[in-house]
Amino acid sequence: MKILNKVHALNTKDMTNHIKLVLSTLLMTALIMSCSNDDDNNMQNQIDFSGTFAQQDQMGRPAVNTVFVSSSSKDMFNTTIPSQQNAAFQTMFQTNLEGLSPAYANPGDTNALGLDAATFTGLLATDVLNVSLDGTTTFYDGTNVLTGRALADDVITVELLLIFGGEDFSENPGLSNDNVDANDKPFLTSFPYLAAPW
């Protein structure tokens, strides 16, 4: 019985190898045939990466274009390179910030970072995300400010606090926190970090 089993196993193995051989032969044939119509036998070079790609959207910090750019200028903001954004948009940002938030209504008003409307919008108008190479990366964690953006950072509440919260985060409490503090799924500790889709 044991011997019979062994024979049977051998036959199965032979059969498997035979199938593998047939499959690989078929695969080789398919590869050769698909290459045969091309002068270049390097399959990799058949992928077309040519052409010019023109900018349509860009983003550094969250919600900047959404909140601070006037409707008619949103496409223009997306196609202005960051090094030219301050000159083109800081004034608009300041006007929109002052229109949106009573926390900057009086002369000398600042947010909790000590920035008045002009300096705060001067920072935001250049829409890049500042990222530290040296340690903690967070939009704001109570200690570190603008050293990156982690998945769990409550960026909207941070921005609402800086827009509406005044010098000590106490002004306009009904507007400075949306009271949604976390994602609807836990993030992963390892790559790719984002949760699987619903």
């Binding site: 052409g51 349509q56 983003m59 274009n65 390179i81 926190n177 984002l194």
Partner: protein, 216 residues
């Protein structure tokens, strides 16, 4: 329930008529709802703290059923930009472009030209990952010390957008407590890259942003 919330959120968006939604989702007329619409950008230190992770999300507000058929657009280049010198001009780019079910990556590399128009930097380090399909576990590729992912993910963004819209629209005067996450139950198409920090600088602060660029 989650889907109902999403539908309500979309309905609110339509009614209010604002583009004021989320981190960058449908932020501007030319890109809203299209394949080049960036919804979010993240940059953070990796699980291995010698590494930096970049995340670009596009095509927001995908319902689970829409996610199953969502694809990356082969005419849209996603480009991570990195300025190491403080002038807000990119010194390195990492490019991602899909071809036939795979996402190809080039870089990090000094771009041939900076600014609004790009060519694909085919002479740079090339990496590739099979785009993960909906309902399967994440495909992760590694090359030259880097990790790569492309495919659908839960939208990591959270916000009570509906109430924000009501406030901006003048029908409410404050947020609710607790609030309601308008983005609960919705997905995005994600590109995730993890690179050794040594490839993009030494120490200090870098400035980063992501761009979507369409083939002309």
């Amino acid at each position: 329930m989650k889907n109902n919330k999403l539908i309500l959120g979309i309905a609110a968006l339509t009614l209010v008529g604002f583009f004021m939604i989320s981190a960058d989702h449908i932020d501007a007329p030319a890109v809203q709802g299209g394949s080049s619409d960036i919804t979010d950008f993240y940059a953070f230190q990796g699980e291995d703290t010698n590494n930096m992770v970049f995340v670009a999300n596009v095509q927001g507000l995908l319902s689970p059923s829409a996610t199953a058929t969502a694809t990356f657009d082969e005419n849209v280049l996603i480009e991570f930009n990195i300025d190491t010198t403080g002038d807000n001009v990119e010194d390195f780019v990492i490019q991602a472009i899909p071809r036939d079910g795979k996402m190809y990556f080039f870089g990090p590399t000094a771009p041939t030209a900076t600014g609004l128009n790009s060519a694909i930097e085919t002479m740079a380090t090339q990496s590739v990952v099979d785009i993960t399909t909906y309902g399967t576990s994440a495909n992760v590729a590694t090359n030259a010390g880097m990790r790569f992912f492309a495919g659908p993910r839960d939208d990591p963004f959270f916000m009570d957008f509906a109430q924000y819209s009501a406030i901006i629209g003048g029908t409410a005067t404050s947020f609710n407590n607790p609030g309601s996450d308008t983005f609960a139950g919705s997905n995005v198409m994600s590109v995730v890259v993890e690179v050794p920090k040594s490839m993009i600088g030494t120490s200090g602060t870098i400035n980063t942003w992501v761009e979507s660029k369409r083939k002309q």
